[in-house]
Symmetry: C2
Subunit: 340 residues, 2 copies
């Protein structure tokens, strides 16, 4: 009875979407994933677990392994292989982050010093290589060529996306299309692969594999667009990273692309000076946000994210209703709701 | 008749060992490997084939893919899979070189500007990641979990070796054992894997797999030791790299380890100043070579290489005589003979 009253009491003010349902569903499995990650990042070369442990323990959301775990369950999978493969997905993600931080010359990630800031670029590159190799070792132990194919393809596409991003860095003429190509490759592809692997190990028909891949891909795009919005709009405490990082690095994200396209000649000079020439003064970040607000660039970036979120949600239509499906739908809402 | 006379005429002055027999045996296959490499390094992101093409075309010896090709033939393999897998081995090697040059901050490789010198560290890291992923994609297409296991294990060990090397860099107290551990991991392991793959695809008994792995491992050690000797002893033109590179970088190679262990207090101060503190003046490289010669450090490094070369040669004892075996034996002689 108490429960019903409590629910009614909250009806007028609906709870904000969160990843809580997802985590509740996969909590026990995720604990095992974390244990396996700790176990498999060991090496007699002690710098490797030290450095890897630093970034892996740094409080990431484990979103990608969660996707593998819940996708497998959504497909009715009842074995244990999803635990090891979720760990592989996280290893690949972590290797990418290590190399990313070297490429971006970042000092902070989620409010903590980056591995490259603590141990130097060289160690970060090499430990990234180790984690990447380790991911493939664990996949080989799992023994599925289909899974190996999905994750080796994803890895190649991610690397292509990273190189693309390097080429469009600081280029204010970057089109929305080019921006999308980059985030699809460098972020959304691993989301897609993480989900697809769940269907593959459950031995489900191609239609479910494809549905989960589409869900992951579109969720990943929405997720990255909102991340890029948050870099201009979030409170530092909630974001866990420094607001304005992308601006300071001259990254051309969707809010910039839209503000630039909608701006007049003087505004475009502002964007070129601050992002291409990287000549920034104290008030420039505030001015950037003002220009974005003037043109609705942040609002419309969220609208774009909503579009991809809607596709992700509909992709799940091939699955019957159930707690896993509801948790994955809520994750889409959560990914976008973070912007408010 | 003419042939016999010609052979007799050369008997008094035997030809120096070379890789010519190996290349002659595998020449047609190697041509196909090179074509496949060019084909599979393509990407819509044009910087990738540009940068990868630069290092792949830079005149490497293709020693590792040659080992896969000839090992397969030695095991009686008559199919075509060895071509794709030899390309995988070269992709992994190339990815390692790209990351190596970033870590070493090298400007020259085989007399040409390194990729990081031309395109920057960031692009080199990311294109390395791409080539590494591409290697796994091609292996997955080949479809052998045994091969995937060998090469993913090798990749993890290589990364461990690179991190170990980072930790022993500039440390004159490095033991011969620590030096050996590093070169085994970062060089010899891929030689071993390249050879072993040949036996695996030929579906040969474990004893032949193990023999080829031992051959590759010990050849790789001998090869790296001689490379390290050449950095102090070679003529620049024949070496294709700058003599004294290792000295200038403060790398602790076997000749240094031996000269340090055999040196007196004043000599050790010299090694610490030049390699640990990296305080070098014009005459220091010449002085380093003098100290090595005084203690027989170069000569005895070659003797150590000979020891591993002998093990490599004997490992082939399980195979009957034939042109492939003779070419692999000659390769050991060639690896060591380069020092003269």
């Amino acid at each position: 009875m108490a429960v019903i009253i409590s629910l009614e009491g909250e009806r007028g003010k609906p709870a904000r979407p969160s990843a809580a349902a997802l985590i509740a569903l996969a909590g026990d499995d995720l604990k095992q994933v974390n244990e396996l990650i700790l176990q498999r990042m060991q090496s007699p070369v002690v710098l490797i677990p030290q450095l890897a442990g630093h970034i892996i323990a740094a409080g990431g959301k484990r979103l990608r392994p969660l996707l593998t775990l819940v996708s497998a369950r959504l497909c009715g999978y009842s074995g244990r292989r999803h635990v090891a493969l979720a760990a592989c997905v996280e290893f690949i993600h972590t290797a990418t982050l290590l190399h990313d931080d070297v490429v971006d010359e970042s000092d902070l990630r989620r409010g903590l010093a980056t591995a490259n800031a603590v141990w130097g670029n060289k160690a970060s590159v090499l430990v990234g290589d180790f984690l990447f190799s380790r991911a493939f070792q664990v996949m080989v132990e799992d023994g599925s060529l289909a899974v190996l194919s999905i994750l080796s393809n994803a890895s190649a596409v991610i690397a292509e996306g990273e190189v693309m991003q390097l080429l469009t860095a600081n280029d204010t003429e970057t089109s929305e299309r080019a921006y999308l190509d980059v985030i699809k490759a460098k972020t959304a592809t691993l989301f897609a692969a993480a989900c697809r692997v769940g269907a593959v190990i459950a031995d489900r028909p191609k239609i479910e594999e494809n549905a989960l891949e589409s869900y992951g891909l579109n969720l990943g795009i929405a997720f990255q667009v909102i991340d890029d919005v948050l870099d201009y709009a979030a409170h530092q405490a909630t974001l866990g990273k420094t607001v304005g990082d992308d601006f300071r690095d001259g990254k051309i994200t969707l809010p910039v692309v839209l503000a630039y396209l909608r701006g007049d000649a003087e505004e475009r000079r502002f964007w070129r000076r601050t992002l291409e020439d990287q000549e920034q003064t104290g008030d420039d970040l505030a001015q950037a946000v003002r220009l974005m607000e003037k043109h609705g660039a942040l609002r419309d970036s969220v609208e774009r994210a909503r579009h991809y979120g809607a596709i992700a949600r509909d992709a799940l239509g091939v699955f019957p209703d159930g707690p896993e499906k509801r948790a994955l739908v809520e994750l889409v809402d959560f990914a976008i709701d973070r912007a408010y």
